[in-house]
Symmetry: C3
Subunit: 335 residues, 3 copies
């Protein structure tokens, strides 16, 4: 499964997975960073996942090693073997309220007090935990997990194998108003919708809004953390990753494999190219070209930003030096 | 309705509204920015909303135009004509739990599993979607829409024509503690409440806290985006706009028609005058005078902030020049 | 109760507590800041809590005073006397769904539509408001209040005397993925859990994630505001305070009595020592030593940061001066 070289006996029994320093004699641990070799040697783990070039420290006890190319990825795959997900009882709970026009696939489980509106479609084997509310004509693909209190608003479409954590709200109205003559806000009807593709996971208490026109779109494989805000009309490319409390204004375009670190903000109509990484708390406006690592507000090239930060720390002293120089420049040739 | 000049035949039938580039032969589109004239000429829209001074490009096909003073506002008004809002079935769902002392106006609709506490009042024609919980003595005005999972805590008062999106929480305890001698936090009871005036809309997953004393107040016509935090004792003036993830500490005073862009933070006891605009991610402390455009943390005049940002980008190079000058100032008169 | 000196008659009847400027003849107010003496003299309060060294202004009407060492703390204690908390009716609401294997202590109250999973334990006198969902094997200590729509995910452990406001989500999956060869994200199973100790209060719409391995831990007496994000594997020391919209990435260690002001972000694996205060919107990476006051992104010593901010405001002008100096340095000796 891991493509690992097994070093040691093949008949070890393990019951779980644990951190290097906590693992016991029936657990698997992993060593991602070769510099932690001495910790590895002290670990009580029965099995250790290590890089292929791993060379045990002198005092390290004999134990099974799985040598792999990418230890962290192997660890992720092993971890899922031991994972015991929360599961609903089979079938539809008697307290769930399903509109007679809703259609539900084979093996779907629906928890207590879920409310499923007119015309909703739920694909095979999906689980809808208690207290979810699916507004009319929302659709859910196959093998999805919607944790408790998830809301899909009217006409939102969710792909297959998606995981939505508690309180995720998909398809509430976008934030669009225009000022009238008396400077009051007139609401722009949010006629559009939201489409979320396959294999998307969204953390607790995050929101993605429906579009005013057309659709907001979250691409295949996108992973979104807790408390993230996605605005109306945003387009997020495949395999991008949005960390906690990231906020996107409206009409943002984000490429593929983009990483936005925690609390990043993106201004409306900004465009972020493929494979861009934006560091935490940065503010993006305008356009970031593909492959860039960006930082700061407004975000610029990461290296330039670091130099600015370093320079800023010297600035109070530099201003003193500037004043000294103005008062009394050194005599020419004094060097 | 729009005060528009109709250019072309009056008997065109349209069924929807769409973006310029997506509109088809039964749809209305709008052109807000005259520079997009060439896109307009390629649009398949049956009807185009344009500025009064709009002059079609050479190749633009004959089509109906509605010439108006403010195209975006006209678009908002037309959009609402085609809008199909989610609606509850008439009446009170049999699973809703209403305390016998709650009073409910004419035409109120209440969805499945809503819980309405003692002494709650709900004005005529308001809709309470499934899973809302209204604590004791909360009140809702007329023609409101409370989407699923909205919470009104005890004694919160909501005006008329308000829209609360999913999971909005109004009137949870403010965040107030005082340290005792052993440096532990003693909770300050939040005896006050929260009052939200008419025509307020609040986005999904936003929270406004009750006051410790007196009341937190959100003025008429205020619009609040998703994931916004309003602290205890805050006062927000009429027609202000708070974008996504804005956070206000306690005892903040915000004037009328103020715009806080995304992720702005406002420190406790800060005061923001009427018609102030604060740009995204800025941090406001102290006082901002009426009419100001503010940016940065701590927020200052926008123009000054832009100059600082531009100067900061030159700073690493400037420090090198300063060092050069210190080592070897140019000879006097060398210019 | 307050250790106060009573100045004036002991038989005054008060019915509530109010702000200095709003208090009436049956209310208690408090004066924290001696500079507000003139306001105090105008206040209509029947009873005034004052510092021990308070000396009334000339025109101040005769009234009862309670002289104490710490007026704000005394105010907090008096406020709690008048506080009328929302309370559930005794017993378990008939619509609550309890798994037969759940165990519930003496005097527990459970509201409408709560869903209590297999193996859940709830300690004596705790109140579970409507629409809470406790996943399997979650546990709640004694005398807790879980407001409506709170979620405890599988195996989460909550101490005694905790208050969780509406929509708090404890124990959703941490945000952990690893990239495979095709740059897609592979989910790391979040096998760990979350433990919250006694006397913790958490504001509305906040989330604390379960750990991938081991446990996320929130220490005794920690207070957390609204919309806060706590990542997987974080450890938060006793009596720390996290203000609104604070976000912690994963594997963060926070000491005791730490204060993180609003919108602070903390990067993964950062370490914050005891008694550190971080000012609003700062971004913490690496390590902050005990007792530090930190500011800015990346966070540094507060005093240094203030100097940087002040210097930055002078920077555009300083660059002009630098250019002038380069063009025409003053003649030596011209001073």
């Amino acid at each position: 499964m891991l493509g690992a070289d097994l070093i040691g006996p093949a008949d070890v029994l393990v019951r779980g997975i644990a951190a290097l320093e906590e693992a016991g004699p029936e657990e698997v641990a992993f060593l991602g960073d070769p510099r932690r070799r001495s910790e590895a040697s002290r670990s009580g783990a029965a099995v250790l996942i290590v890089p292929r070039d791993y060379c045990p420290a002198a005092g390290e006890p004999a134990r099974v090693r799985l040598a792999v190319d990418r230890p962290y990825e192997a660890f992720a795959r092993v971890g899922s073997l031991f994972y015991r997900p929360p599961e609903l009882a089979p079938g539809i709970h008697p307290t769930a309220v399903l509109d007679p026009t809703a259609t539900v696939g084979y093996g779907v489980r629906i928890g207590a007090y879920a409310v499923i509106g007119a015309g909703v479609q739920i694909g095979s084997r999906s689980q809808i935990f208690p207290h979810c509310v699916l507004y009319e004509e929302a659709s859910v693909g196959e093998d999805c997990v919607l944790h408790s209190h998830v809301v899909l608003r009217e006409r939102v479409r969710l792909g297959s194998r998606c995981i939505l954590h508690n309180h995720v709200t998909l398809g509430a109205d976008g934030f669009g108003y225009v000022r009238d003559e008396s400077k009051r806000w007139v609401k722009i009807a949010q006629n559009g919708t939201l489409v979320v593709d396959d294999d998307v996971e969204i953390g607790a208490l995050s929101a993605a809004d429906r579009a005013a026109l057309g659709q907001t779109h979250v691409g295949r494989g996108v992973k979104i953390d807790n408390l993230v805000q996605i605005g109306h009309g945003d387009q997020i490319g495949e395999d991008s990753l949005l960390c906690g409390q990231v906020g996107l204004a409206g009409s943002v375009r984000i490429g593929k494999r983009v990483i936005l670190a925690g609390q990043v903000g993106v201004a409306d109509h900004a465009r972020i190219g493929d494979d861009v990484t934006v560091s935490a708390q940065s503010g993006v406006t305008g356009e970031l070209p593909a492959g860039m690592t960006a930082s700061g507000t407004p975000a610029c090239e990461n290296l330039a930003w670091r130099k600015q930060v370093a320079a800023l720390r010297q600035l109070p002293e530099a201003l003193r030096r500037l004043r000294r120089l103005e008062r009394c420049p050194r005599a020419p040739g004094a060097d």
